[in-house]
Symmetry: C2
Subunit: 452 residues, 2 copies
């Protein structure tokens, strides 16, 4: 990567020791806000306020937005009222709302006291929407145009008001009731005649979302329709804000992380690894572990119940972990594939039978391959008689097919009844497949080995 | 969601039966290319060429890009030379290169024969880069400006050449050697005086990537720095192309899917679920299943070797699946968390000891909770003597801690030696944790139950 050369935290700290403030400022100005914020994460906390004050006003605000909540809280607590005011002036409203949402109550009070009434009203508007909705993600600072304007008038309006807008590349055309009636891109404006009328060049076939649309769906629509910004409307189709692509990208990343966590039986959090305490991590992980452990009681009951069958040969007991791991892996492959396909909308519930048919065929192919390899392996290692090896291999084949079936059906049923399919993944499926394949196994043993 | 009303495939097909072509065209024109492409997926293949010909030229090209490769191949094979030429004229060069990359050889020949020499040269340039590099992702159609231009001259240039560019919102300033020396956004241009000189307003602190930078890193930088486009340079820092955010978003989505697949022991593919044949799905899933099944031989060897210990009570054997599932789940939680944190750059290899320390504490907390619950559960269900229950509970505690340790260490070591950490996830970790916890288990049994 050919990114800009970034100084190390040691370099900055030693410049600070030597009181070379101008030099530090010079280094900061050459850097990108995201890189400066990453650097601040490494500074000792008592040094960060003095270093932060070396940043020019606009860069300070841009850097502040990129910081972790902990550090933001620490810095704000040391700020004077006028410093808070100058940061709040520079922030986009959606970032300001995020800040207010995340800070402790005493800090929020000081922030709001040092914010002008207009911005405060906009922040409150954004904060009234549920956390996972388009409304909470949007900004209310967008360029709005009127149908009757000419391109030249529109460009003048952008020049006058554009500096405070999060994006000027998509402009929204509204009527007197703030109803969204069209959009024009900056590209359209630049490539059209100055005398053209907005109403004639605007796109009226608009993709928009409702304030209460789930933010995951919003992110998915950005990727589907290749948008840079998405208008958010209320029940009366009045424009209330826009979501920009940088926020949609963050949502995509968060949602992928959440899905991955759920698939691993972790309750999803929204903080980076080192920002959560040991206790929080424990609380996120223990519920599913407990539920799954207690469910595993079924397998021990089955083993106890069929003690006499398993006693025929230690080989039968010895194969149980292999059977279960393979079943679990097969079920996990199917469920993870289907969960991801559901979330990317490659697969829908109405495809259920198509999916089952495909998974069954894949399951039979995988099962036969595994059974053959297992048969040869057990023969070579002299693990039991040919009859016993047949029981294990047949049980393996059945377990694989059952695992593929359950692995694809459960996530699809979950999505149908409005549950999150991601929870129906490997750990959960493994527990069910374990019990089923164990039952199949002992019954195959009874039938083939003629055990009473 | 308030997306545009989309007609169903039945509606379109019945209009086609009635030969109401104008009406179909009218419906299409109101729709978004992504939605039209989704509709074409549902049409019978013999109907798609006639329906595709109803699309106006530009919309046809935009829709074509959104289609699956199968359908594109089918359509192109039925196209006349002039139809191919008109599609190729409308496509952005990066999309045209993707098309050439994916089509069968005979189709590629016809495509290239019907493409003008300039475009052909640009396509070949993009195709020379490795599949997962920034070079393969970029387009060579960008707006380039000179330092000495005024804002008015720059705007004129954009008006003249902008229509063919994939984005006009970031413009790149190059010198006589095509060296990248700065960038200006369309926002800068619109908000600056018309007489201002580009050299004075341009940003010189540029984030760029090399043609060979991994596309996953490129996507990560878009999200880190909130970019809309990223310049791609060669060894001499000459600008060769740009990557736009829509392509970066697709890469993010693909990479998340690949990580999820690897975590579930599937060899990653890049096609949607129903686009892969049963055989391809089988080939993607069987290798890890075989490797993991054969590795499970260790657990059967341990069980056979310690037959006399397990024979003391069926309760000892019956607890094995529960011990292994819980160990596997704990290891999976740790590994998946670390793999995701590594890929989001929240955790680096130098954090190894910090990570181990955190996971050990979480492991002890989880282990103690699980052991206590297990102890009570086995007491209530009268599963074995108190001593045996103690053995199982202690083994559970140890297995959990070992699982958390292995689950966090293996992905980090993998990333250090340049392996893909995503492979070191649940299925792989489960196999190792199974063998280790089984060994711990039998040894605890020997020690506590005083078995010779």
């Amino acid at each position: 990567m050919d990114a800009v050369l970034v100084p190390t935290e040691e370099e900055i700290l030693s410049l600070l020791e030597e009181k070379k403030f101008a030099k530090i400022r010079e280094l900061f100005v050459e850097m990108n806000p995201a890189d400066i914020a990453a650097l601040f994460d490494e500074f000792p906390k008592d040094r960060s306020p003095v270093l932060f004050r070396l940043l020019p006003k606009e860069l300070a605000a841009d850097t502040f937005v990129e910081m972790e909540t902990d550090l933001q809280t620490h810095l704000i607590q040391g700020f004077s009222d006028s410093e808070i005011r100058s940061i709040m002036d520079e922030l986009y409203v959606d970032d300001a709302a995020d800040l207010v949402d995340e800070m402790p109550a005493n800090v929020v009070k000081r922030i709001l006291a040092n914010t002008d009434a207009d911005t405060r009203a906009m922040i409150n508007k954004i904060l009234q929407y549920p956390d996972d909705s388009a409304g909470s993600l949007m900004t209310v600072e967008y360029v709005s145009l009127r149908k009757a304007m000419t391109v030249a008038e529109a460009l003048t309006r952008i020049r006058r008001t554009g500096v405070d807008k999060e994006t000027i590349y998509t402009c929204y055309v509204t009527d007197n009731n703030r109803t969204l009636i069209g959009l024009v891109t900056a590209k359209d404006l630049l490539l059209s005649e100055e005398t053209a009328v907005i109403g004639d060049i605007m796109e009226t076939n608009i993709i928009s979302v409702h304030t209460h649309t789930d933010k995951e769906d919003v992110a998915q629509m950005f990727s589907k329709y290749n948008l840079l910004a998405m208008p958010v409307v209320d029940d009366e189709n009045r424009l209330v804000g826009i979501v920009t692509i940088d926020d949609a990208m963050d949502v995509m990343e968060e949602e992928a992380t959440e899905d991955i966590e759920k698939m691993a039986a972790i309750r999803p959090g929204d903080k980076p690894y080192f920002q959560t305490s040991v206790w929080q991590t424990y609380l996120a992980r223990i519920p599913w572990l407990l539920i799954l452990m207690v469910s595993a009681t079924f397998t021990s009951l089955i083993i106890t119940r069929f003690e006499s069958v398993l006693d025929v040969s230690i080989v039968l007991s010895a194969a149980i972990p292999m059977l279960m791991d393979t079943g679990g892996n097969c079920g996990g492959q199917a469920s993870v594939t289907i969960i991801r396909a559901l979330s990317l909308e490659d697969v829908e519930f109405r495809d259920l039978f198509k999916v089952i048919w495909k998974e069954l065929r894949v399951g039979v192919l995988c099962g036969i391959s595994l059974a053959i390899v297992n048969f040869i392996k057990m023969l070579i290692l002299h693990q039991g008689t040919v009859l016993i090896i047949m029981v294990v291999s047949l049980a393996l084949l059945c377990a694989v097919v059952v695992a593929k079936f359950i692995g694809c059906v459960l996530p699809m049923l979950a999505s149908k009844i409005g549950f999150d399919p991601a929870v129906m993944s490997s750990p959960f499926i493994t527990t069910i497949v374990d019990a089923l394949s164990l039952l199949l196994y002992v019954n195959l043993a009874i039938a083939i080995l003629h055990i009473a």
